[in-house]
Amino acid sequence: MNSERVAAWTEAELGVEGRVLDVVRAPDGVLSARGADVDPTSADIVQLAADLVATMRVSPGCVGLAANQVGVGVRMFCVDVVEHPKTRTQHGTFVLCNAEVVESSRNERAREGCMSVPDLTGDVKRAARLTVRGELPGTGEKVEFSTDAFEARALQHEIDHTDGLLFLDRVAGAHAIYPRQTYL
């Protein structure tokens, strides 16, 4: 387990300035295709990692962003749930490449939204206990760690993105989808 290493990671390690990118929306095909595995040490992936964090930072309420969401079909995402009230265990800001779920348990149902599906939210059942593994961009270190509650949900949502799945593909039923309120 490398919880401490992941928690200690910051985007400063990348050594490049992140740029804010445009977020693509469904039905863009890049969101429905599994991304390519990446070399976490390559320069363009390090730059994209910094860009993902920079784009997440300027997006209100954003707790995670996958590369497909900025139009790049590769398996990488960033997460930062520090400010969220439903967070228990958290590892600060981090980016994972080629991540996958190792173990999951204790399903809980909760309402999710997504920057790439701005007009809808949906109830999705996800594991509240989760172990994931992946690689850190820059050094390429392999890490494996466990988390729970909201960080677990965010990780599963982002790993789904890297597999070409949206939360819409996991909604609990026909009455588990909701238009987002718009106030005129």
Binding site: S32, D169, G173, I177
Partner: protein
């Protein structure tokens, strides 16, 4: 007490008080509301309810006539004769289909469900910008080849440029 069952549908321009007025009319006739559903479809009011009691279609229509008087709501009443078809005892699934909006998406996908003997028990579709979304709950027969059904649905979805996901409906027994 009569066990006659009536279907009442109310469709039209949304405003506060439609449900209150409808149910007050039914209550005056001593009708008991059983299953009902109401939603807004692109902002339009849509309600269906099944009510049971000793009345008749003409009396129910009279009781609900004030609702339709403004001309912006359609009210329909009809007797329901047949009992429900018992569940076949297969497996329950959730189907999600999404992609760029175009005509024929629902038809292309549900045709495959029907061809497999599947019965859709709940359906929602939403158009949000360019994104078309369908979520259906469906029962497949006991002897259904689920992998083949899923392949057929995915292929049909691809033909109309959308993606489809079929998952077992999970119910947690507590």
């Amino acid at each position: 007490m009569s066990t006659d069952l009536y279907a009442v549908t109310v469709l039209g321009h949304d405003r506060p008080g439609i449900i209150a007025a409808t149910t007050a009319g039914l209550a005056e006739l001593g009708l008991n509301i059983e299953d009902s559903t109401m939603t807004l479809l692109r902002g339009h009011f849509a309600m269906m309810l099944l009510c049971r009691g000793g009345s008749d279609v003409a009396a129910i229509e009279r009781a609900l006539a004030p609702l339709a008087a403004g001309g912006d709501l359609d009210v329909a009443v009809r007797p329901v004769a047949a009992g429900p078809t018992p569940a076949a005892g297969g497996s329950a699934w959730v189907l999600t289909v999404h992609g760029g909006d175009r005509s024929g998406i629902v038809s292309a996908v549900v045709t495959e469900v029907a061809a497999a003997g599947g019965n859709i028990t709940d359906l929602t579709t939403r158009l949000a910008g360019d994104l078309y979304l369908l979520v259906a709950e469906l029962d497949l027969p006991v002897d259904a080849d689920v992998a083949a059904v899923e392949r057929a649905i995915r292929t049909a979805a691809e033909r109309v440029g959308v993606t489809a996901t079929l998952r077992l409906a999970e119910a947690d027994e507590l």
